[in-house]
Symmetry: C2
Subunit: 334 residues, 2 copies
DNA sequence: ATTGGCACTCAGGGATAGTGAGTGCCAAGG
DNA sequence: CCTTGGCACTCACTATCCCTGAGTGCCAAT
C-alpha cells in the first residue's frame, strides 16, 4: 500500500519540515534529497500520503506538513535513534559525575537534558516504593513533636513532622527508633508498610499512642504522596515561537504534577523509550519523549523531554536514552 | 512643582493603564475619574508630567503610559497597600495550615502566592545561616561512604554523601556523630562553621582523615551552596500576552538562581515590602514585589512576585505582605 | 507508472486611502 | 495666572486592492 518511495517521501517531508518549520513542496523535496524522479511523481505520492492521513496541507496550494499520524509512522518505522557523539557522551558523564546528593543528581540531570535537547526536560525523583530503607531517624523538636527522617538506599531523604498525643521521654523515642531500624533496615519500602502495621505489639503499652502517631505518619510517607515529585527545567526554550498560543497549556501542564506524571507514562524497563505525539499527549501540538531509568536493571523512575510535535525525534530520543543510562549508572554506584 | 491635581492625574493614568492595557487619553481620564476640569486642562498637566519623565506617549497622538519613574512615584507616594479581604485571609490561613514538612510549606506558599496575584511567585527556602542545628546524623552507606544529614530548627533537612579516605568502623562513626552533636546542637549555623574548624583535636589521631572528610563536606553544606534554594510557580501566568517577546528573558531569569536571588533583594526586616520596577530589576518590562518572612521577628528568607511592569501594585503588595506574614507565623509555630 | 505541460488557487507582501483618537497650541474668559 | 473651547494636525490602525510566486491537481503523452 505504501511502497518504499512513498515512505522515503514521508521521511523526507518530516525531516525537512522539522528543520525549516515550513510546509514542504514537491519541488524542493526532489532537490534537497537525491530522489531520482520528477516533482510530478512526488506529487502523486503526496496525494496518496495525504489521503491516508499522514500529511496535510495548511491551505490549498501550500506544501505539506506531517500529521500526528505521519510523525507516528516516522518514529516507529522510518527513523533510528541517533546515538550521541563521543564528545557528548563525555560531557554528560563529567557533568553528572560532579553530583553528590540525590537532589544534586536530579537537578543536574534535568538541566543537562534541557540543554542537550533545547527543550523542556522533566525528571521524576526515584520512586520510594521500589527502593529500600537505609535508616530511620527520630529527632525531638519539642516534647510533643518529633521529626521523622527516612533515608533510602537511592539516597533520597524524606522528612515529616509528627505531633505526639503525649509528651515523650528521650528514652522512649530512642527505643522507638531502635525498633523501627531493627525491623525495617534493608527492607523494600513496599514491604515496609506492611511491617509497620504489625509493629504495635513490640511497643510497651503506655507508649503506644505516641508510637501510633509516628507509625501513621511513616505510613503516609511510604505511600502515595511523595511518589510524584517532579522537577523540570528549560522552560526558557518555550519562548521560541514554536508553541505560539498553545504555550499556556504547556506551562499549565508543567505545574500540574498529575498531568505531568501521566505524560511520562507508566514505568517500563530501563532506557526503553516511549514517544507520545500530539493528541496522544493530551496537549495540542506537543510531544513527549520519555524513558525509565534505574539502578541495576531495576527501573526506579522516569525522565523525559517535552517539546513541539515538530521536533527532532531521532536526536531527542538519543539524548533521552543516553541521559537515562548515565543517571542509572550514577545511582547504581552510590 | 507637582500639585495635587497633577499627582491625581498620574495616579489615574497608572490605574487606567494597568486595568485596560491601553494608552490613556485626556478625554477618557476626565470621564472615568470624577475630575472637575476640562480635558484641555488635563492635557496641560500631562504635558508637564511628560516633561518630568513620569509618563510618555508610545507615539505622537496616542494616549500616555507611565514610565518606570511614574510607577515608582505611584508606588512610593500615590498608592496604599491593599489589605486582603477577610475571606482571602481565611483562605490563606487554611491553605497553609495543612502543610507538615517544610517542603510542603514552601510548595504551598509559592502556589498560593501565584494564584493570589496571578503572576509568577518565587519563594526562597529559609536560610541556613540564620537558623540553628537541631541534630546531625551520620548513616553508613558503604564502609567508605557515609550520608551526612543536617537538621535545622526551621525543619530544613540537608543531606550530602561523604567519601571517606579509610574504611570506618561503626563505632568510630558513632563517636564522630556524638562529638558533632555535642558540640553543635543548638548553635547557630553561622557559628557552627567556626566550631567545626576547631574540632579535629577531639578526634583520635587514626580517625582524623575520615573525620576531616566529614568536616569538610559539613562546612560546605553550612556555607553558600544551599543558601540559594529557590522555588517558583505560576509560570503559566506568563502566557498572558503581557510580556510579548520579553518572555524569554523572564523564563531565563527564573532558571538562573543567581539572577533570581538578586531580584528578591537583600534581606530586610520581616514583611517590609520591596518593590523593584522595570529597569531596576534588570529585566525590561518586569517588576518584582518582594518581602522578607521569618519566625519571631527574625527574617529567615525572602519571597516575592514577578510580573509585568504594568501590574496592580497595591493588590500585589497586599498579597505578598499577607502571605509573608502567615508563612512566618506557621514557621514560628513549629 | 512516470513525466511535462498547464490552468488554477491562495497566502503573503506592499501600496493606498480613510478613520478617529489623541495631541499641541492659541486666544478668550474667569 | 489658571482654565477652557476651538482647531488644525499627526499617525497608528484597518480595510481594500492587487500582484506575485510557490505549490497544487489534472491530463495527455511516453
Amino acid at each position: 500500500m505504501l511502497d518504499e518511495r512513498k515512505l522515503a517521501v514521508l521521511r523526507a517531508i518530516v525531516e525537512d519540515y522539522v528543520s525549516t518549520t515550513e510546509p514542504v513542496g514537491s519541488k524542493s523535496l526532489v532537490d534537497r534529497h537525491g530522489l531520482d524522479v520528477s516533482p510530478a511523481t512526488i506529487r502523486n505520492d503526496m496525494a496518496v500520503l495525504e489521503e491516508q492521513g499522514f500529511i496535510t496541507q495548511p491551505h490549498t496550494s501550500a506544501g505539506r506538513i506531517p500529521t500526528d499520524k505521519g510523525y507516528r509512522l516516522f518514529v516507529d518505522r522510518l527513523s533510528a535513534v541517533k546515538p550521541m557523539s563521543a564528545a557528548e557522551r563525555r560531557a554528560i558523564e563529567t557533568f553528572l559525575a560532579g553530583a553528590y546528593s540525590l537532589d544534586e543528581v536530579v537537578a543536574r540531570t534535568v538541566r543537562l537534558l534541557a540543554q542537550l535537547t533545547r527543550q523542556v526536560a522533566v525528571v521524576q525523583y526515584p520512586s520510594l516504593s521500589r527502593s529500600s530503607v537505609r535508616h530511620i531517624e527520630l529527632v525531638s523538636l519539642t516534647p510533643q513533636r518529633v521529626l521523622l527522617v527516612l533515608i533510602t538506599d537511592t539516597g533520597r531523604v524524606e522528612q515529616a513532622a509528627v505531633d505526639l498525643p503525649d509528651t515523650a521521654e528521650p528514652e522512649s523515642i530512642a527505643h522507638l527508633r531502635a525498633v523501627l531500624n531493627a525491623c525495617l533496615d534493608g527492607h523494600k519500602l513496599a514491604d515496609a508498610a506492611a511491617t509497620v502495621s504489625g509493629l504495635a505489639d513490640r511497643i510497651p503499652v503506655p507508649e503506644r499512642p505516641n508510637a501510633g502517631a509516628v507509625f501513621s505518619v511513616l505510613l503516609e510517607s511510604l505511600a502515595e504522596r511523595h511518589e510524584e515529585r517532579l522537577v523540570f527545567a528549560g522552560t526558557a526554550n518555550l519562548a521560541a515561537p514554536d508553541f505560539g498560543k498553545g504555550l499556556r497549556d504547556v506551562l499549565e501542564a508543567l505545574e500540574e504534577q498529575v498531568v505531568l506524571m501521566r505524560l511520562l507514562g507508566e514505568a517500563a524497563s530501563p532506557s526503553a523509550l516511549t514517544v507520545r505525539i500530539g493528541a496522544e499527549t493530551g496537549i495540542q501540538g506537543t510531544s513527549v519523549v520519555s524513558a525509565a531509568y534505574g539502578a541495576g536493571g531495576q527501573a526506579v523512575a522516569k525522565l523525559g523531554v517535552l517539546g513541539p510535535t515538530r521536533m527532532d525525534y531521532p536526536g531527542t530520543m538519543g539524548a533521552v536514552r543516553a541521559v537515562a543510562r548515565y543517571v542509572g549508572q550514577i545511582l547504581g554506584e552510590s
